[in-house]
Symmetry: C2
Subunit: 225 residues, 2 copies
DNA sequence: GCCATTGATTGACCCTGATCAATCCACCCC
DNA sequence: GGGGTGGATTGATCAGGGTCAATCAATGGC
């Protein structure tokens, strides 16, 4: 999941045609919170589609700075191989179920044409979403970043809570910070600001309710207050 | 071209197997400086590989903020379609020659298997390079950003100039700024800093010579001074 | 139940990079 | 050659967000 420009609203995350064949023993299809699916440098053997749960893809700099590349929500494909190796670490944030696809399906067109085509389109959508995310990282303020993030989550995985939209945040504040290019302190302060201006309520640390979605959307697009 | 982590050094930008067939009249294969290849929203009919010259891909926010998504250097593929429409504007910065590929080659596996496979790999490499670029936009200082940018350019398109590496910068300072998530003033000041610390010399506004490549690489990775 | 641990929040302060404004410079056209 | 134009540089100032540090709150172990 990337923070894309709301107006575009691709939203059409479709589940790929799942292959009916049972995956071999060697593949992970279920992760407990905190479990790692792969590490940076590992050989890519499988792509995965998240079917339930949330994972986090991170990249580290030698001095410890971290960037959360993406969160993997149901429907998302993770593990696209450029060279033969993973470029990120992947950790489960919640109980997560995965549908594995052999990497060769992407490279070898014959084995399963439909799946090949579906994975290809997922890769192309990924490129497009990442382009939008550049704008967010490079050009948006802390306010706009967090508002955009909440808008995208509300749209994609929000649930109804008494007429309002409720958003679960399985990740920590520092995960959010490293995703948006901020610090935990700034993320925390920005949450507080949104709460004080009655745009959201913070039910608990992992759940926010969006009280004024239009105001939030406005903020995400650069309107002040 | 994205600003990737230098140590990885993919660098292996290979030209695709060019199709021998003459492209139809309707396609652009040559652009003069300032000419646009496509605009955001245009229908994607062709992918292009830059064979010579440099193009710039940009995305605009309604309030005028701009993000340069990428520069297209020889070898780069531009115009990957997610939906059927372009998500960026594309302008030539120099005299540019392009090799067009029908979009259908990506989607239709039959027409040209080799080319299909080559384009697919280009797309996967693109994803990987963009992930590195996230780190740069989200987590690097102005110094590190510009140093990284110059390192990547030196590696990729630098030429020899009396034992030193000379780098042509066909883009304006504000293009660089919008690419790195900075302002033109900051880019300009950072160039001046690099010049004052004798890491580069600025031959003219569009050409820099790298005097101390190791120092520049160090800066790009977060070493101070 | 009590304390230790870890993450979140808040506060005080500072610094990097943005903003606003004033030259400067290269290039071009008469 | 003179002057006009637009991008680049430099300067002065400001502010958004980072840093450092002090609570606060939730969780877990004993």
């Amino acid at each position: 999941m990337y923070v894309t420009i709301p107006s575009e609203n691709p939203s059409a995350f479709a589940f790929l045609p799942l292959c009916g064949t049972k995956p071999p023993q060697s593949v992970q299809t279920h992760l407990k919170p905190g479990a790692y699916l792969f590490y940076e440098g590992d050989e890519v053997e499988w792509l995965y589609q998240v079917t339930s749960g949330v994972v986090r893809l991170t990249r580290l700099l030698s001095d410890g700075r971290r960037q959360v590349i993406a969160f993997g929500y149901p429907g998302d494909i993770i593990g696209f191989p450029a060279t033969g190796n993973h470029h990120t670490d992947c950790e489960a944030l919640t109980d997560t179920h995965l549908q594995p696809y052999k990497r060769s399906i992407l490279e070898d067109r014959e084995s399963d044409p439909n799946l090949h085509s579906a994975l290809l389109h997922a890769a192309l959508n990924e490129i497009s979403a990442m382009q939008d995310h550049f704008m967010m990282l490079g050009r948006k303020s802390a306010n706009e970043k967090l508002a955009s993030f909440l808008c995208v989550l509300a749209e994609r995985v929000g649930t109804d809570a008494g007429g309002y939209r409720s958003v679960k945040l399985p990740m920590s504040r520092s995960d959010i910070a490293d995703f948006l290019g901020l610090t935990t302190e700034t993320v925390s302060r920005t949450f507080t600001q949104l709460r004080n201006s009655k745009i959201i309520t913070i039910e608990n640390i992992h759940t926010v309710i969006i009280q004024r979605p239009t105001a939030l959307l406005g903020l995400s697009q650069g309107e002040h207050d």
